[in-house]
Amino acid sequence: MRLILISLLAMTVRMTVPYLCTALGELYAQKSGVLNLGLEGMMTVGAFLAFMVNYHTGSAWLGLLAAVGGCLLAALLYGGLVIWFGVDQPITGIAFNLLILGSSSFFYRLAFGVPATMPLAERTFPLRPIPLLSHIPFLGEILFQQYGLVYLTFLLVGCSAFFFRRTKAGIILIACGENPKAAETRGVRVNRFRLAGVLISAVFSAIAGTYLSTAIFNQYTAGMVAGRGYIAFALVIFGKWNPVHIMAGALLFGFLEALALLMQVTALIPHQFLLMAPYALTILALVVTSFKSRSARPACLGVRYKSSR
């Protein structure tokens, strides 16, 4: 029993990372005023490139690098279209998702054909137990025997909170999303900061995608991201644009997913309903959020800003 609880909680922490990392990245983009709905696509790019490079070179870290590079390229294109060219943000994000999903499965088919068994990469990220802390009886096994990327992500929560409240760059970023005109009168290049926000969200999504395909699944399948990008997007809203609240929400979703995975073995509830649960919960979360005040929403979210310089 204790073992089941430990493995459930440990898996919760592991499953939280994709949601949390992507949502944190999207936080940077949204605070700067850009609705980056292409998260699903960027996670897919990250997952795909990471797996391909890992498979061919045997290095998971090179895969991470490749994933970040690919996502940055995609985000540059998306940012250019959305920020400077001014296309409608949500539908461009969806279009990018479609394009990237199609391209990924195409290039995967190009590389592997239709294999009988799923190709697995040989080396994945190593588990890194923290020396002293991992020996704590209960918490140690849950919290401190994880992958390096897990620690990084939770560290990033604190870093993001610090960034937005105490650093000059963070406050400028918030200003770009709240009142870009005022920011510009102070000499801020609003659109460049917005692009930076989008690029940061791409990097985080790349990390999340890499983690998904390398650490959790160690393979790449077509529908792998399974809507996590959209859930992360909703998490930003549910977390009221606050990194710590987003972490709480992400933990909830990680818990659900871990529960679903464990329940598949026991078959108490039909597992399809458990698989449904994260998505249904997202809708519930959005409903609950709509009753609270929306004052944390960046005022100029999704509105194109035309620089008058």
């Binding site: 394009l99 399809q272 809708i283």
Partner: protein, 360 residues
């Protein structure tokens, strides 16, 4: 920016049809060109691959009917989505509503086997549209009453319906002999084939009806208000006479849901005679691509859907004959959507001659 160049781009919100068509045509050529470049990685003759693609989409009678079969759900969903997009509502729930409609149709087909054919067929149509509309209605209510953006709600509902349909397939309606499909629906609920020798079934009549409805809707006061709402929800909020804005949102989303449900019923009762997850080849998103590519105009959407349907049905033959995998069509589809969006945006710019030195 200081420009000494005597021309500049200026935003101009009037988009004459000719300019939009020209831009769309240019963008299409660009897309196909880029796509051909991608195909160069796999084959030496991308143009020949295109030729194979289109010839096997329209070659003989059977192939044309296959193309039309692929076009049907795309066009149905595209028409429904165009009404939503005109209202400025991005309803991504096509996949979920299609599956819901399919579930409704297969329910009639599996259980109500004793009814006279006319009644049974009517029931499949009604239930298909009803289930699709209801599923879309959840998102519509959340948007209308609570102002929750329909974008994520519909995407989430897609996944919920996907897993629910998986549950119904694997637990309730599984056909032991054909894996992942339900049993075949009873004969009285199969839709009649209109042109013998092809697979053109009743669904095409319903498609023409829907086409007429959408064209007519555009010319009614309600259609006008939908368009106004799409251009500016704030401005129209108090001026609507036909419906208040909440009911308008409900209407367009239920309409799109019903159209998608109808597409699902077509797939089940008209074409496959069974239900499975494979009746939906991501038609929800393809419908949106068709709607955008067709410029939200019914005739344009019909042309775009035909193009997408041809691409889809010719791709398999292309794969067999030239070795280019058929998933390259997904890439093309994504490119077409991005291109259509950019073309729409480009249409809002106008090249204007300035007087020379401008320091704006």
């Amino acid at each position: 920016m200081k420009w000494n160049f005597p021309y500049r781009f200026r935003e101009d919100l009037s988009c004459p049809l000719a300019k939009r068509l020209a831009l769309l045509g240019g963008v299409l050529v660009l897309c196909f060109g880029l796509h051909a470049l991608i195909m160069l990685t796999m084959t030496d003759h991308p143009l020949a691959a295109y030729a194979v693609l289109f010839r096997s989409a329209f070659g003989n009678r059977y192939q044309i009917s296959q193309t039309l079969l692929r076009t049907l759900p795309i066009l149905l969903i595209g028409l429904g989505m165009s009404v939503c997009l005109k209202a400025g509502i991005l309803n991504l729930g096509g996949n979920g509503c299609l599956l819901a409609g399919g579930l409704g149709a297969v329910f009639v087909g599996l259980y109500l086997t004793q009814l006279p054919p006319a009644l049974a067929i009517l029931l499949t149509v009604v239930l298909g549209m009803l289930f699709g509309a209801l599923w879309s209605g959840v998102a519509a209510l959340l948007r209308a009453k609570l102002n929750i953006s329909e974008i994520y709600v519909t995407v989430m509902l897609n996944y919920v319906m996907l897993y629910f349909a998986t549950f119904m397939l694997e637990v309730v309606w599984q056909d032991p002999m054909k894996l992942n499909w339900t049993a075949m629906i009873s004969d009285n609920t199969k839709w009649p084939v209109l042109i013998p020798g092809t697979s053109i079934h009743l669904g095409f009549v319903l498609l023409i009806l829907l086409f007429g409805v959408v064209c007519y809707l555009d010319r009614t006061p309600l259609g006008y208000e939908i368009r106004c709402f799409g251009l500016s929800p704030q401005a129209t909020r108090f001026k609507l006479k036909e419906m208040d804005s909440q009911r308008l949102i409900l209407f367009v989303m239920l309409f799109a849901g019903a159209a998608a449900g109808l597409a699902g019923a077509c797939q089940v009762s008209g074409s496959q005679y069974r239900f499975s997850l494979q009746i939906n080849r991501d038609f929800g998103f393809t419908g949106i691509v068709a709607a955008k590519l067709g410029g939200l105009n019914p005739v344009g959407i019909a042309a775009a859907s035909l193009l997408l349907g041809a691409l889809s049905s010719g791709a398999t033959a292309m794969q067999v004959m030239t070795g280019v995998p058929d998933s390259i069509i997904d890439v093309l589809q994504g490119m077409l959507l991005v291109a259509a969006i950019c073309a729409d945006r480009l249409a809002m710019y106008r090249l204007e001659k300035t007087m020379g030195r401008e320091t704006v």
